[in-house]
């Protein structure tokens, strides 16, 4: 693994771990949701690093997986926000 790949992999794993920590440990739901997004970004960066072929030609499959992953995470985040707002408004009335 070239040093650059090493760096990117390290960053990807770090994001993944930090995101997991935030998702699991933070008390406020908004922070948990952001944690989940950071965790997702970690996984997607790892996929992108994997896509960098040795001879420079990128592998489209991980890229497609990342696009699908991003869209799913956006949808989940949208639903999460709606649920957070529902818990707030439900607990008010």
């Amino acid at each position: 693994m070239s040093p650059v790949d090493l760096l990117y992999t390290a960053v990807a794993v770090a994001l993944f771990g930090l995101g997991l920590g935030a998702l699991a440990l933070s008390a406020r739901p908004l922070k948990k949701l952001l944690g989940a997004n950071v965790m997702g970004t970690g996984v997607f960066s790892l996929l992108i690093v994997t896509a960098r072929g040795p001879d420079g030609a990128t592998d489209p499959v991980p890229h497609a997986l990342v696009i699908t992953g991003i869209v799913v995470t956006v949808a989940a985040t949208g639903l999460g926000l709606a649920l957070i707002r529902r818990t707030r408004s439900a607990s008010k009335d």
């Binding site: 989940a36 790892l46 997986l65 992953g69 649920l83 439900a90």
Partner: protein, 470 residues
Amino acid sequence: MPTAASPDAVLAALVVLPLAAALGTLVLPRLAPAVATAASWANLALVAFAFGTIGGETWLAGWSAPLGIGLRLDGLAWVFLAFSAPVFALAASAGRATLAEDGAATLWTTLIAGVNAIFLGADLFNLYVGLEVVSLSAAALTAVGAGAAAARAALRYLFVGLGGSLLYLMAVASIYRATGALDIGLVASMGLQGPALATPLALATAGLLLKGGVAPFHFWLPPAHGNAAPIVSAALSAVVVKTALYVLLRLWLDVAPQTALADAAPIFRALGLLAVVVGGVAALRALRLKALIAYSTVAQLGYMALALGFAAEAPGATVAFVAFAAAHALAKSGLFVAAGMIAKANGHDEVPRLTDPGTAYGPAKAALAISGGALAGLPPTGGFLAKWTLAQDAAAAGAWWVAPALVAAGLLTAAYMARLATAMMRDPPENAAADEGGPLRGWSALALASAALLLGFLGAPLAALVEAEP
């Protein structure tokens, strides 16, 4: 198996049909509950028809592995479909009011599509997307038509789902990075070992145990299943948690070599026993009816983990795993629907104060009794078949402690089921409102519970299906 219809059409239809119904619920919002119920029954018919295509597979979009995604229907997958479909169908018929809530019918049909996609899925990333479809639909359904507590439980369930899915996705990414393949069969043939196998397996297992609600990752399950509407609780506890455990089974049986499963066996056995004890004791002490039933799910999932713990040494343990899953799904969904009716008739759901809801609730009470027996593993129910198979296989593998453990756990289950039995015999105070119980719902619950009873007699065919091919 003579494939009357080509697997291509049937397997694809199992996913396309619920999705088409989902679109139907959007186009005809007022008829949405009817569309969702009809789709659930059509799905059941399709699953029955699909029996002819067991062993078939189809490469979607015409591309085979490694580029394309495959759908595969083996005996094991068909059994999981075969106990999920009746739950959806009968629960839909029993829960028209819930399905009339805004968005509920759409989410119900996407949930069915997601569940079918997972049971048929043969591609690791595709299973991730399937798990997301199921998690988001289930989390949203938990909050539909329910109060603040359900909304909070749904939010926590969403976070658990997200975390679990991303753990699983990281595992898929690592596997792709090491093998360049995503199809389960292909990845298995790559012969991963050492850290390249251990790390993804560990991550995926953690994620799936979290989504499957196996103790000690069960904290989110009782609030979610306890606060959702009855038919949603039925679908969640009977089918949704099983999808995660199904993927876990696929990983450990198909992707990982048998030696890996043998190494991990002690962990699964320990988790299983922990879950059985934690769930059982909590159910014994639970005040609210639905909490009791939800904790019972935590305990029953423990049996499945225990069975997985023996799958390496005794192939019959896989049959036990499937039998536990099927018996629990049918009995628990019947129990949730019946409990929902009985709680409504009593006007509250505190177990110590529950009383006999009256003769109009005959079918619901019968469902409660039969499903209680099935969960406690009393003969001749499906629960007994599962326990018997596991005990015999474990004994054959020399683990003599399993039989007493299962019997003791059965007693624990019987203890908290007896709390419900006592309630049903308690005469109501004179002024109890004799609410005319919906006839349909009671019979749906009884049909589900009776299916759990009938399962007890299908030991041989079940084993043949599950062990059909390697």
